[in-house]
């Protein structure tokens, strides 16, 4: 009898289902215990330090100003508004960084594949040097370099020699637009022009498919997109104007301004990530077999068309997923702004606001929420793209 119970005990131990349940319950209870332990500790610590909790701090006024904000903000606005300002600043620098990365990355990636030995080697050196040094080092170096070489406001660089854009050690200045009544008409003009261009492109495509006649759609499209809003602008009585920055006292006034830290970040993020991007582009183009180029050339396409219609679309299938993960990295690495004092979400919200208000857990959670939702959005787009590409395939 005891022997039998031993056997059945063994059966129980070696039963896969029971084991699965056992291990899961064990892990779960360990994790739950850990969370509970941390929770009680935190609670005790917070009552001991007299810290308040809850998200109502978002309506408390914040007593600090920021160097750069895209929506109206002044010291004395709420933390909720600070969060908004920080998110917009983060998104702006990330977007410009992404554009810079993509353009520069494609450029360098194609240079790396150049048939010119020297060009390919220079591009390779660019990639290796940038990839093998830390981004933070590069950001700080760019920042110091900019601050060392940018002039005082009185001697601002007149960028493009237009008397509109200026560069000095307070930042980069440009004209800002102001909108009077009647601007709506111009906006409507832009929308109508866009719709017209889309219709035109579809029509051109249809005509080309049916008859083979090629309509010069780019020239027409450009014409429409320029002419319609301009006409609307004059009909509405020139409602939109520019406010150009002018030197007053020791500083430029008027227009918009981005601080040097912002310029630094856009340059540093674009340059650093373009090195990674270039490698993806190169790998993507190399992944298209040589036979494809030959086939494209043999049906009479010239090199440019072969690249545009045959090689690039296939290479994109390999490039896009890695490209999007590089974009994600640009977003994440924009948090290094904290090192040069650009007020984006990590610097302004997670550092300044946290130190000022002391709502550690809420602020960390909100910051993580921002990054989490950005990465989820980006990966959602990636999934949609992948699905489309896979449908095209076979």
């Amino acid at each position: 009898m005891p022997f039998c119970t031993a056997i059945s005990m063994l059966n129980l131990i070696y039963n896969e289902k029971i084991r699965a349940v056992f291990f899961q319950v064990l892990t779960f209870s360990l994790v739950a215990w850990g969370v509970f332990y941390l929770y009680t500790n935190t609670n005790e610590n917070m009552t001991a330090r007299d810290m308040k909790t809850g998200f109502d701090f978002l309506w408390i006024t914040a007593g600090f100003d920021t160097d750069f904000h895209m929506i109206d903000y002044k010291a004395g606005d709420t933390y909720g508004r600070v969060y908004l300002v920080a998110i917009l600043n983060s998104l702006l620098v990330a977007c410009l960084g992404i554009i810079g990365t993509t353009v520069l990355g494609f450029f360098v990636g194609i240079l790396r594949l150049s048939s010119n030995w020297l060009v390919a080697k220079v591009a390779a050196a660019y990639v290796e040097i940038l990839r093998n040094t830390p981004l933070l080092l590069q950001i700080i170096y760019w920042y110091l370099l900019l601050l060392a070489f940018l002039p005082k406001p009185k001697k601002s660089f007149d960028v493009f020699y237009l008397d509109i854009f200026f560069l000095n050690n307070r930042g980069f200045y440009g004209p800002s637009a102001f909108f009077d009544s009647g601007s709506g008409l111009v906006a409507a003009g832009i929308v109508i022009a866009m719709i017209a261009v889309v219709v035109l492109f579809r029509h051109a495509r249809k005509v080309q498919d049916l008859t083979g006649r090629i309509i010069p759609k780019y020239a027409w499209g450009l014409g429409i997109i320029v002419v319609v809003p301009v006409v609307a602008y004059f009909i509405a009585g020139q409602p939109i104007g520019w406010e150009v920055p002018i030197l007053k006292g020791f500083n430029l006034r008027g227009g918009w301004r981005v601080p040097p830290a912002f310029i630094t970040l856009v340059i540093a993020l674009s340059v650093y990530h373009s090195a990674y991007m270039a490698e993806s582009v190169r790998a993507g183009i190399l992944s298209v077999s040589k036979g494809q180029t030959e086939a494209a050339l043999s049906i009479g396409l010239n090199r440019g068309l072969a690249l545009r219609l045959v090689i690039i679309p296939q290479a994109m299938r390999a490039i896009v997923p890695t490209m999007i993960s590089h974009w994600m990295n640009v977003v994440k690495n924009s948090s290094l702004a904290v090192a040069v004092g650009y007020s984006e979400i990590t610097a302004l919200f997670m550092q300044t606001s946290l130190n000022q208000s002391g709502y550690a857990i809420e602020i960390v959670a909100l910051t993580m929420l921002f990054y989490g939702s950005v990465s989820l959005t980006i990966s959602a787009f990636l999934n949609i793209y992948n699905k489309n590409v896979q449908l095209v395939e076979r």
Partner: protein, 440 residues
Amino acid sequence: MNQVATSSIAVRSARWARENLFSSWINTILSIVCIVLIYNVVWGIFSWAVLNGVWEAKDRRECFAILGKDENGIPILGACWAGVRVWFNNIMFGRYKDGQWRVILGFLILIVWLIPLWVPGVKRKFLIAAGAIGLYPFLGAYLFLGGERSWFMSFMVSLTIINLVYNTTDWVGDKVFRVSLADTLRWKLVDRIIPEKQHTYALMALFAVLAVIVGYLMRGWGLDHVASVRIGGFFLTLVISGFGITVGLPAGIILALGRRSRLPIIKALTVTFIEVFRSVPLITILFMATAMFPLFMPEGFELNKLAQVIPAVCLFSACYMAEVVRSGLQAIPKGQYEAASSIGLGYWQSMGLVVMPQALKFMIPNIVGNFIGLFKDTTLVFIVGMFDILAMTRAMSNDVPWRGEFHEPFLLTAVIFFVCCFTMSRYSQRLERKLGGEQQ
């Protein structure tokens, strides 16, 4: 004969240049642009750093005075290496002033430990690596921090030393004299007393006894205590990234296995964990560690900043490594799993003996790529106020005698990182080619 050879080389190089540099007029223009660019950059840096470099000066002003001005009254540009020379020690060791020999000795020991991994034909490389990961930290921690030893620490330190001596004599003896210490011990001595299956246990017991004895003998010997805040400069960067790498890989493997597990709760937990920490930047995790860690811990439990930062870095690295390992696991064909279970291996055996070795081998370039990324990202601890290499580089240009001098220290730091990362990536490429060749 000689004439022909040289002319043929000249002809060949001319042909090469024509084909590769001047094949069309666009290529010719590009080549010329590149040559001008390379000339300017290389010559500019060379004349700045080497020709005009100042090595002896007491401050930056003296550097400028030595460099002087040219005939047009424009200051001559030159690197002021004198400042970097003064600060070099800080950049490497931070504020670890006394007993830097301990740091150097620690890294030498690590190098000696790891050399056999690079020597072809050494047996039991896995055990050597596992020893380095599992035991070396004790020796390293004691060498770097010193102070009072608990009996456990004494035991571990002596065990580490014994392990190192054993490993080294074993592989050196095997390579040089064709006598393996391990085999001698196992087959000549232990075999007479204990059956074969228990050799490993016998050796472990022997080591433990030896360690107790050595630990007892070492009781009078000790090193001065060094506060952990004194660890800085490149040394700190190496310590943090070393922890990140050695903890990250095993933890990443476990997380990856959890993510591929068929057990829903384990899978859900690991997926959440990995995705949450992968979606936020490292700097956020570091802030979180320094701001929230004190809140999470029970009252009176205090940790220095180094001990707050290291877990954060390890956690981050584990989550990224988990994704790399997972993609390696996905690349293993299902037949391998089935084959492993059909010969009667259980889950851990089939993972450890069949699947994981293949997956890790397959993923070596990505794993090394991750290491490089982590090594570079370690500089972020500068932002939470640690005195790593970047902080020291930055501090130099705020030091009064050298105020405003930043090109030189940044160049030094960039070169240090470049050499480390470039070597790692080249090594992984070589390994990849070698392993790729093996498979075919």
